[in-house]
């Protein structure tokens, strides 16, 4: 586990950076990059296990100019989670910087330099809190050393205050800017020698941000969100906002069926549309598609509107032969097939006790099958990318969650060295997993060589985004419980069936992989004597990909719904029954239950903590007034889930009106991610998760017929609007304990929302929702 090795050499390579023109001389460029070799390491976890690992080199992340401006480089994608603010809070705090003199630079895709940049899996702060603190602590130490040398005093007497270093005995001060040049000449201190600020000295970490929390007379300095002003004034730059005067605009007609190709194209009418410049075919790579383009026909024009009109005027014959049985894919019959398959045993994932005996001896057997459909991530900013190829060098501007994969893909497609591909990461107008896959960038890369160095922007329309998402896997989950005469659970059998994301990269495995099962299926935490978990086969017929929280969604929906059904069957209060199912507070080593993934985290640092589950359930129910009397047609629903190393419980207070219309009056979410860097943004993520989860429950569904997606735009793929959001929403953050291993934030709030809503519907109406979305199921 310990990455520190005696033979690691730190080098101050600021000279190299100056030579490369990355910084004016005089700027503090503390350059070092340790190239750790890990071959002999037994097991790597967390950031260490990620491609290109972590970097905590101050020179990579922190620059101080002579005027005192501190520039922190953020290398993670900003898609609304606030990482550009939160990571900078960490660096500024540890450095001792004054927030008003801190700027942020967005790193291009370059994992050799910055460490892992793949912004998904709720990992940014979990993996980068420590390296960023060390980088800033190293820079602070170098400033202190520079001051000591200048004043000819022991370094132990010099201490960084707020943007100054102070010689404590004399009270003498020197600003960071004044010390920057001298500090840049110093060697980067050894990692072991660094001392990190104790919690009581933190000024930004863990503090509320933004002016809203400024109480009158409040003297605590609180950082403002980095991009806030740009966003509200319309000047923030997203993918489609990058402009070049000679830019061309393209839209692409893609095969409606996954794996189909262009048989023939008649572009004569399209070429007649004013503004259309050329029609170009893009080669796809067939199945599995991975992150490659689907292929199709691009219409390239002088503006977006002309390109869209030109595409409408294309006449294309598609060849469905290469698509195989995808051309017959019908999501309704697929659901029926999975439900039938769920009646038979499948690959055994976890087997404890004797399930057959438990089921045979039960006083009551309970069985239920749950269905969650395909969904599209549908970020408000549809995929868009600009690529320019000049003199064998490609430059990309795009909203991508995974800039390194983008760089590798573009280099491969254009036959360039990595060094000749620059990926500039803009703000993302939402990601939710869609922009982890750079297929849309590779489309632009495919076109760019055709136009003599003119930049080409590929713009996806909303129809493109819904038809060609990397869809959330459809899922059927069948559960059976054996209850004894007291209603206690003696046996639990769960079969889960979903196409695997593995099908995107290799011949369809037809079974979920470890990382998919580990998302709330084999980590099922209940203390039941006989447990049998199975995963029968399911094949993929569309591109399946990550959607915020991924397989936690169907697993949590099924398990949390079924636990509520068991409680009702037993005639017990749902909360009390859940706590009983969980059993006493304890920590389970994931390896003991054959859980090999654990979100990539060390099972010793990140056990499955039953006590934390109990605590969020207790907190959410207490805050929601669990058990209170509600009017007819109104009910409270509870669900909890553990994912991405964090713990969430949700109580929703729901009214179902006579016409089936549903109003969420109150939402109480209790959340435990351990230490909280930016509590205000954590609450924002949880609020957003609540709204998205309500949409998953109510109306978000993608269907396919004859292999084609049936939803074209937001009138057919509905996502929540303001009236669907809870009338009141409260997020209760607990367990902000520095000794607890930090958990994720962006995703773990989402999985329990839909089951909490369905459980509330049951409390309000007595109707069980076993198939999502609810749509018109409540209209009677």
């Amino acid at each position: 586990m310990n990455r520190l090795r005696d033979d690691l050499m730190l080098a101050n390579v600021s000279r190299r950076h100056v030579l490369k023109g990355l910084a004016a001389s005089g700027a503090l460029v503390i350059a070092a990059r340790w190239d750790w070799a890990l071959a002999d390491e037994e097991a790597a976890y967390g950031a260490e296990a990620m491609p290109h690992g972590w970097v905590d080199d101050p020179n990579v992340f922190i620059r101080i100019d002579e005027d005192g401006t501190v520039t922190v480089t953020n290398h993670r994608a900003e898609m609304g989670q606030g990482i550009r603010t939160s990571l900078v809070m960490v660096a500024a705090d540890e450095l001792g910087a004054d927030w008003d003199r801190v700027r942020v630079d967005q790193a291009p895709g370059d994992e050799e330099k910055y460490g892992n940049q793949n912004t998904d899996g709720s990992r940014s702060m979990r993996h980068w809190f420590d390296p960023m603190r060390r980088a800033a602590a190293a820079a602070r130490t170098m400033l202190e050393q520079a001051a000591a040398e200048q004043w000819e005093v022991p370094v132990s007497e010099c201490r960084a205050g707020v943007h100054v270093v102070v010689h404590e005995p004399s009270g003498r001060e020197s600003g960071f800017g004044e010390l920057a040049a001298a500090a840049s000449q110093r060697a980067v201190p050894e990692r072991d020698s660094l001392s990190l600020k104790p919690r009581e000295e933190w000024r930004y970490i863990g503090q509320e941000t933004g002016p809203s929390q400024h109480a009158e007379g409040d003297e605590v300095e609180r950082p403002l969100a980095i991009d806030g002003e740009d966003i509200v004034t319309g000047t923030a730059v997203y993918g489609a906002d990058v402009h070049f005067d000679d830019m061309l605009y393209a839209v692409v007609a893609r095969p409606p069926v996954y794996g189909a190709t262009v048989a023939s194209v008649d572009d004569s009418e399209a070429m007649g549309v004013p503004g259309v410049v050329r029609v170009v075919q893009i080669e796809g790579t067939g199945q599995p598609a991975a992150f490659e383009p689907l292929g199709g026909v691009a219409v390239v024009a002088e503006n977006t509107w002309a390109a869209i009109q030109g595409r409408d005027a294309l006449s294309i014959e598609w060849d469905n032969e290469p698509a195989g049985d995808n051309a017959a894919y019908d999501s309704e019959s697929y659901r029926e097939a999975l439900e039938a398959a769920a009646e038979s045993a499948g690959k055994v994932i976890r087997d404890e006790g004797d399930i057959e005996t438990a089921l045979a001896d039960a006083e009551t057997n309970l069985t239920a099958t749950y269905y969650m459909p395909h969904m599209a991530q549908a970020p408000m900013e549809p995929p868009v990318a600009i690529v320019r190829l000049v003199d064998g060098k490609a430059e990309v501007w795009a909203p991508v969650q995974n800039p390194q994969a983008t760089r590798e893909g573009v280099a491969e497609r254009l036959g360039l060295d990595f060094a000749d591909v620059t990926v500039n990461v803009t703000l993302l107008g939402g990601g939710f997993g869609r922009k982890s896959k750079p297929d849309f960038v590779l489309e632009a890369a495919s076109l760019t060589g055709e136009f003599d160095g003119r930049p080409v922007r590929v713009q996806w329309t909303r129809e493109d985004d819904l038809h060609h998402a990397y869809f959330h896997a459809v899922s059927v989950d069948r559960l059976e419980a054996a209850l004894d005469s007291e209603g206690r659970a003696q046996g639990w059998r769960h079969r889960t069936l979903s196409p695997s994301i593995g099908s995107l990269f290799a011949p369809d495995p037809e079974h979920k992989g470890d990382f998919e099962l580990g998302m709330g299926f084999n980590t099922m935490p209940f203390d039941i004597p006989a447990i049998r978990l199975e995963n029968p086969e399911a094949s993929a017929h569309v591109r399946i990909g990550w959607f915020r929280s991924v397989y936690n969604l169907p697993h949590a929906y099924a398990i949390q719904s079924f636990a509520a059904e068991m409680a009702a069957q037993a005639g017990r209060d749902h909360r009390d029954y859940l706590l009983e199912l969980l059993g006493p507070a304890r920590r389970i080593d994931p390896r003991e239950i054959d859980e090999r993934w654990n979100y990539g985290e060390n099972p010793e640092r990140y056990p499955i903590d039953i006590g934390r589950m109990r605590a969020v359930i207790e907190k959410a129910t207490e805050e929601a007034g669990w058990g209170r009397e509600l009017p007819e047609g109104r009910g409270l629903g509870l669900a909890f889930h553990h994912s991405f190393a964090s713990y969430t419980a949700v109580v929703l207070d729901v009214e179902v009106e006579d016409d089936g219309n549903l109003i969420v009056h109150n939402a109480d979410m209790a959340f435990d991610c351990g230490p909280q860097v930016n509590p205000e943004r954590i609450r924002a993520q949880l609020e957003g998760s609540c709204v998205m989860g309500i949409g998953i429950a109510l109306h978000s569904e993608i269907t396919a017929s004859e292999g084609k997606i049936e939803q074209n735009n937001f009138h057919q793929f509905e996502i929540p609007r303001m009236p669907h959001a809870p009338r009141a929403m409260r997020v209760h953050l607990i367990n902000d304990d520095p000794d607890v291993a930090m958990g994720g934030v962006g995703e773990p709030g989402l999985p329990p929302v839909a089951p909490a809503l369905c459980n509330a519907v049951y409390a309000a109406t007595g109707k069980r929702i076993r198939r999502l979305p609810i749509a018109d199921q409540l209209a009677s």
Binding site: G228, M380, G429, Q459, R462, F714, R721, M722
Partner: protein, 155 residues
């Protein structure tokens, strides 16, 4: 040729009459605060003011905007109500990814010009056409109330 007045400035544009105002604003005039989200008047990301009224620029042909005054998010800082709305957005940390927020602010500003102190129902009616995939609706509602209150304070 189409002549458009955008944020008080006249632009002579060589575009077809039927080109949606959105693309004229974005691709031709190069004001990029107005966003493309759906192209069918379903999401509100493209909301601008046409003679003060909130409209969806993605389905409004440029010909319909001729002779009228088009106002985009870029001009909201100069608008007394608009700036108040922007400030309320900042005060409550409304934005997550921020992509839809320009359109939200345009709709909210138009609402506050029509109703100085809207209630929740009026807010939901006026804002129901603006989608936010990040789910910031509760803070949007609170921010509109806050902007309204601060307008009252100033009156």
């Amino acid at each position: 040729m189409v002549t458009l007045t955008i944020n008080g400035q006249e632009h002579e544009l060589d575009v077809p009459d039927q080109m949606p105002l959105l693309w004229a604003i974005r691709d031709v005039v190069q004001l990029t605060g107005t966003k493309f989200g759906c192209g069918m008047s379903l999401c509100g990301a493209c909301t601008v003011h046409l003679d003060g009224e909130a409209i969806r620029s993605c389905v409004t042909p440029v010909s319909q905007a001729e002779g009228k005054s088009v106002t985009t998010i870029e001009a909201m800082s100069d608008d007394e109500v608009g700036r108040r709305v922007q400030q309320a957005w900042l005060d409550l940390g409304v934005a997550q990814c921020g992509y839809c927020q320009g359109g939200q602010i345009m709709s909210a500003t138009a609402l506050l010009k029509e109703h100085e102190t809207p209630d929740d129902e009026q807010i939901m009616d006026a804002m129901g056409g603006n989608l936010c995939r990040c789910g910031t609706y509760n803070r949007i509602r609170q921010a509109i109330h806050r902007a309204a209150e601060q307008g009252e304070d100033q009156a």
